[in-house]
Amino acid sequence: MARKKESGYQNKKNWFEWTVFGVGLGLVMSILGYLVFKTATYTAGPPALFVEYFPEPGKYEPNRYHVILHNKGNETAESVTVELSLQKYGQEPETAELAFDYCPKESTREGWISFSTRPTPTDTVRTRVVSYDRP
């Protein structure tokens, strides 16, 4: 502990302050270590988006689907538009779109869409990411 008696200044840190300092130092070092690791292992590339979906009927929305957008890439995607289309006998009677402001790198975003017609077990629901920007 630094002391400058000649000038009257004394560092008066007690055990509690040293504990806070220790926790702070540990936190800062851990964060920096993690970021250095992420920087060292970073590979440039566009966002890697894929969509997961499953039916999740609600009380007032019987044809509702739960949509989960994943970004496995190292870049954040902005203004992501996801389209879900209902396919019946080779036709596409209905499509629905879902917009996400952002899907950060290595993260997920969730949303729900509702079709006006009830999909039957023989129908197919297809999904695709229509567009996104680089922020």
């Binding site: 007690n14 964060i31 952002y102 993260s107 922020p135």
Partner: protein, 287 residues
Amino acid sequence: MKPTSATRPLRESLREYGRGIAGGLLFSFPLLYTMEVWWAGFIASSFQLILIILFTYLLLLGYNRYAGMHPDASWKDVLVDSVEELGLGFLLAFAMLLMLRRIELGSMSTIEIMGKVIIEAMVMSIGISIGTAQLGFKNGSEEEAEQEKKDLEKERQSGLVGLTVLGFCGAIVVGGNVAPTEEVLAIGLEAQPAHILAMALVSIAMCTLILFYANSQDPGSKNVQPDYITIALQTCLCYLIALGASAVLLWFFGRLEGVSLWTGFAQCIALGVLSSLGSSAGRLLIN
């Protein structure tokens, strides 16, 4: 553990942390409630996040050296206190973002959470430093407190480096509240050259007014009338600090990417109106 006479009582430490947390929240609440700041957290690369931690730490060192701590405090004390404030800033930013549901454990990735916390902790930790030093004064006898106050004043008023560091801190704290918003870009895009010129002139006039006519603590205005060269030099320095801080903030929030030189310049001048207030008046507030 019972405190010895050489150490500060626990109650005083808690009071000091309380002041720091109050200061941190006071300066960072606008940023905690700004969408663009959350977005900047996950858009920034890991390398940019490292840079922002180092930049914040340097600002803390500067502030603590020239205003936050006793002038006789050694560099070791300054380094230790700055780490403490940075750590507290991270913890406080994490807690506030969790409360506001801006971070969700489980559904959000570590890097997304970390990005948001680091960006918010930047101003938070500077606020903690300012709050600890400024909101209230230390215990001890009246004479000791008075002497310490005088020593601090002497330290703050000496040297161009100290004034530059404090001006930069003030510009970052004040300008940082607006830099991430879309409004700065809108002003930069829509303003005509005449508007930009007016903003620059108003900023310079504000710097002069605050530095030499509203600041009774400044050495330039104490007892002696400053000459025109001193006024011109200090005003230019103050405005340049403001523009420098504005450029750093705009660069960090990605506002200078993919825009023309004129648009970038216009944004710097537009944000410079606030930053110049920070580098001149903010310098008094945090001083």
